[in-house]
Assembly symmetry: C2
Homo-oligomer: 346 residues x 2
């Protein structure tokens, strides 16, 4: 498989991304080509310095970068020679199977939409975020790409999230829930109530509505919502986790006994901190496109970049997109077959 | 001031609620009457056992209870002799200034709407939840009463939340933000974008859009959203906080060194746990009604009940509702005065 890496978007410069790519290549012999896309001079400066020589590596020059404060869609259109656009073009041209970027999420989403294009039958691509909890993790989608959604979009997210959870995260029979404000069928807003009816007809393990309370309790593997709600939930969780560690730290400093205690137990905190840290864990697959697209965290370090590439390779290897295309086609058939009072794709 | 307490709704029975009321009466001489509303026999059985004799106490019998799994509006209509309905009636009849309940939130909201009624000019009452963070707290509203909102509702929530934050939580110039998915003016969904324009015209300290990231960073004092989003955010936070403690606990048990450390530092955890615990801290004022209405946590113990009564007394004493009525009238004038392309109260 062939992976294109936009090396320019990360917080720590392209050297860190390139080193992460090296680790990934070392670990995965199935990667046959790895494109490092970005400023050629910077990449070449980073390459020998890291002692990175691998015949699978190809450098693709791009003179521009989509910055964090760029307006995504505009930036991808205007910065024609941006690393993210060039990396996506490698997929568009069939030279790569997947693209990974640490840069502007909206920029990556726009590049995926404009360059790579959506899979047939998929009305909207989405950002799926993998959020860790005690013993495993859940997929939250959409995490911010689609502010206003229609019921059919949520149904598609349910299908795509379920496939991702099964094929990449290894969950055997992913439990799919719609994020709402009560577990009863009748609870929710217009969007979720309609989406609920659609999800019932799909070939997924749909468990109905779930609440905020259920997210960290291992009740659900795939959490479906519109991008407005998803983005708020994701950022709220990140914010609260950080705040709790900061509160604990301050409390530990209040007296020597607590300081000693915190010192002795510090490994425990590190485990949790690492577990909850999006930089270490994470990343977000962008689903629904004709290529595997993965957003790694902007502040990812070498190992996190390698981990993003590992996950991306797995998605390619498991033919996630073929399965999504097939299952979305089936879902659309199922939904079209049933008479509905309101047209599903209206 | 006179407060009606629905003693029947709590998880620990009416004895705990009555003891909480006793503590509150002891601490606050300004309470001139306190109605204990519920099953008379149960109340009288609890009274002497607690040694609670205060001339300000009046027992009001109610033969029914709205249960947690009752459908709120139906239950309040059907269970005419429920403690929550009777307690709200005391406010309706002008015999009490405020009502406090530990029971079904929806039931209390329905009782407030049906019995007490909304303040003039207020289109929708709402549930405001006070959420703790490191050094203070913020008000989130609506936390679940109004699933589908119009922009004007969010504008009213902004006004009411701002007044509550100032008068009861003591914030001098509360920063009011709309919960959205980016801080730029242009970020949000249809509802928040319209609400943004309305809030700009109000006599509040409107800081614009805020994100999930901002909630626990002391960037904002009043967080405005529809009840769907608010309820999900609230429950997600509660769920994550519990999950993090549970993860820490498990990690501490992994070896003796960590166990000793955790033992030495345990006070620090207790401080944070208590700080983040809705049972201790919390409660939710229901705003927009012609009486002070306060929902205490179902699992509130004596001190939490007393704290709920203290907060309620403060709201009465600060004439929160007079201020809300006045400010909402002004807000409606301001919003009506400006020509808008879409009618504000449509």
């Amino acid at each position: 498989m062939r992976i294109a890496v936009d090396v320019m978007g990360g917080d720590y410069g392209c050297g860190v991304v390139i080193e992460g790519a090296r680790l990934a290549l070392q670990a995965n012999k199935k990667i046959s080509a790895l494109y490092l896309v970005g400023n050629q001079a910077a990449i070449h400066a980073a390459l020998p310095q890291r002692g990175f020589r691998d015949h699978r590596v190809r450098v693709v020059h791009a003179s521009e970068v989509v910055m964090m404060d760029d307006k995504p869609a505009n930036a991808v259109r205007k910065k024609k020679d941006s690393s993210i656009a060039r990396a996506a073009e490698l997929v568009q041209e069939g030279r790569a199977d997947a693209v990974v970027s640490l840069g502007n999420t909206g920029g990556l989403f726009a590049a995926a939409t404009l360059k790579i294009g959506r899979l047939p039958g998929v009305d909207r691509g989405c950002i799926a975020t993998v959020i860790p909890r005690q013993d495993n993790e859940f997929v939250l989608l959409d995490a911010g790409a689609n502010i206003e959604c229609k019921p059919i979009h949520l149904a598609h997210f349910a299908v795509m999230g379920s496939i991702y959870s099964r094929e990449v995260l290894g969950r055997k029979k992913p439990r799919v829930g719609i994020l709402s404000i009560g577990t009863e069928d009748s609870k929710g807003n217009e969007l979720t109530l309609e989406a609920f009816k659609l999800c019932q007809r799909l070939n997924i393990h749909f468990i109905g509505n779930i609440e905020g309370h259920d997210l960290f309790k291992d009740h659900v593997d795939v959490v479906v919502c519109d991008g407005f709600v998803g983005n708020i939930v994701l950022k709220t969780c990140e914010s609260l986790a950080v705040a709790m560690f900061s509160m604990l730290k301050r409390e530990f400093m209040r007296n020597p006994k607590r300081q000693i205690g915190a010192y002795l137990a510090q490994n425990a905190f590190q485990v949790i901190r690492r577990r909850m840290d999006p930089e270490v864990h994470g990343g977000a697959p962008l689903l629904g496109f004709k290529g595997i697209v993965f957003k790694a965290h902007g502040s990812a370090r070498e190992r996190a970049v390698a981990s993003a590439l590992r996950v991306t390779a797995e998605a390619v290897q498991h033919h996630v997109n073929d399965i999504i295309a097939r299952e979305i086609a089936r879902a659309n058939e199922r939904l079209a077959a049933v008479e509905t009072s309101t047209p599903v794709l209206a």
